[in-house]
């Protein structure tokens, strides 16, 4: 079965959403989003700490513990995890997996150390990709702001060799736009590794998701944020800190299909894509 993963980006205790990983708007409470998506049938929840500062670390750990009390699907935590202790704290709070990006670029052996201590399947290497003028895909960190100079195809191979359990590949170019996954990017990644690949960035409608999961290169899962947030806000009127969540999300209306997780899964099933119903 292909997995549908809900991604929830968090800044200062609120769920946020933006385009190209910046220009963030607060749209609701993470616990409420997590529980709603679990009830809707999401296969996993990915919580990304956008601020990723040590100052906010305890709040995030408490949030994971709270979510783990009612949400019984795999929870992945990412954003600013720099040390084995950081990973340990996340796992002890109820996370099943963690994503790492910056820390791995700074010192690739960190991937091996984490995989050896916690098991490969616990460690997801998150790759933020931007296509440069030479047509190649390069790795970035810090929500697409800091260049690493590394080519995506080389980096994912290295990450796999070091013991990563999965690759989460984000197209920074497509993220938040609703224009569809960056097919060339995800095919390039899926072709060169044998570990599971999770595609993220750009899903705007059910057809985009079908197209990604139907690729012969074998994409294991899709990770979706905006598409589901738009639908959830329409349905249950989530509040943000400024009480204007509906307003915050209205700009997306033209780009995004109004579709819930169960509706997406029913559509995929209809299109002969095997998913958990």
């Amino acid at each position: 079965m292909k997995r549908i993963i809900s991604r929830i980006d968090i800044k200062n205790d609120w769920v946020v959403k933006g385009i190209h990983l910046e220009g963030l708007r607060a749209i609701g409470a993470p616990e409420q989003y997590s529980k709603s998506y679990y009830a809707d049938g999401a296969d996993e929840i990915l919580l990304m700490d956008i601020v990723a500062s040590l100052y906010e670390r305890n709040a995030l750990i408490e949030l994971v513990k709270d979510i783990a009390k009612d949400v019984f699907i795999p929870i992945t935590l990412g954003g600013g995890l720099r040390t084995l202790d950081d990973i340990s704290a996340a796992l002890n709070a109820g996370a099943d997996k963690v994503t790492i990006n910056t820390a791995a670029h700074k010192r690739p052996d960190f991937i091996s150390e984490a995989a050896n201590k916690f098991g490969s399947s616990t460690i997801v290497v998150a790759v933020e990709a931007i296509q440069e003028s030479d047509g190649q895909f390069y790795c970035f960190t810090d929500n697409g702001r800091e260049a690493t100079g590394r080519l995506v195809q080389d980096w994912v191979r290295e990450a796999e060799a070091k013991g990563a359990g999965e690759i989460l590949i984000t197209s920074v170019d497509r993220e938040g736009t609703g224009k569809g996954f960056h097919t060339e990017l995800i095919r390039n990644v899926a072709k060169v590794v044998r570990i599971p690949v999770i595609a993220h960035g750009g899903a705007g409608c059910a057809a985009h998701v079908r197209a990604a999961l139907a690729l012969e290169e074998d994409i294991s899962a899709v990770c979706i944020a905006s598409l589901f947030h738009y639908n959830l806000v329409q349905r249950i009127g989530i509040n943000g800190p400024t009480n204007s969540a509906r307003q915050n999300i209205s700009l997306k209306r033209k780009a995004l299909e109004d579709i819930s997780i169960p509706q997406l899964k029913a559509y995929l099933c209809d299109q002969n894509i095997d998913v958990r119903l």
Binding site: M1, P74, S121, G165, R276, L277
Partner: protein, 205 residues
């Protein structure tokens, strides 16, 4: 009902404890020999390497306590690596003996065009055994469960191989049971309502 989750340093114990709590059971996380021996039900969790896990169980003396429970027909549920440990032997990073409750060996999943580690949701296939009054009571062939592993149990006794999962042209053992001791390759605490049903069955049998 006294429920103990064995603490030997591996596994997402918090989620498992929360799942039990959600179902109305207060699980104690412990490595204390007396608590494990006297518990009505014991869960053996696990993530990571087989050999290392067996070493830790022996060093802590928990291995011997588990043997006591097995000999005295006191229920144990093994989850993921915890399930694998119940078999004869594993080939993970060399050859390691298991707790040897069940016939069968733990081997690496064959690649054959599949991605490993195997991460994802699969439904369960009935073999020749009825699921009534087992930990799979009330589970349907439509229910899916969350797996994350690179090794699997093979050559399991027909009378103990409660459910299988397809893997390409092959299959591996998803649920093993002799009625008292059981094991799930998947994570019931991470498999939504269907997974919680399996935990509930274990507590009630």
């Amino acid at each position: 009902m006294k429920l103990v989750i064995i603490d030997y340093g591996v596994g997402n114990l918090y989620s498992l404890t929360q799942a039990c709590k959600y179902l109305g059971y207060d699980a104690v996380v412990s490595r204390d020999h007396d608590m494990i021996m006297e518990a009505d039900k014991v869960i053996l969790p696990g993530v990571g390497a087989f050999g290392q896990a067996m070493d830790v169980l022996r060093d802590l003396g928990v291995y011997q306590v588990l043997q006591y429970r097995i000999q005295n027909k006191k229920p144990i549920l093994g989850i993921c690596l915890g399930m694998q440990l119940l078999f004869e032997v594993s080939e993970e990073f060399g050859k390691h003996d298991g707790i040897n409750v069940f016939a069968g060996q733990v081997k690496k999943l064959s690649e054959n065009g599949h991605r490993v580690p195997n991460v994802g949701w699969y439904s369960l296939q009935k073999n020749s055994l009825n699921w009534n009054e087992t930990i799979l009571d009330g589970i349907s062939s439509q229910d899916a469960f969350y797996f994350t592993h690179s090794y699997c149990a093979l050559n399991v006794n027909d009378r103990e191989n409660l459910a299988s999962t397809s893997w390409g042209q092959d299959q591996f053992c998803a649920v093993v049971s002799n009625g008292v001791i059981s094991g799930c390759q998947f994570h019931p605490e991470k498999s939504g309502p269907a997974g919680l049903k399996i935990l509930e069955n274990f507590f009630k049998i």
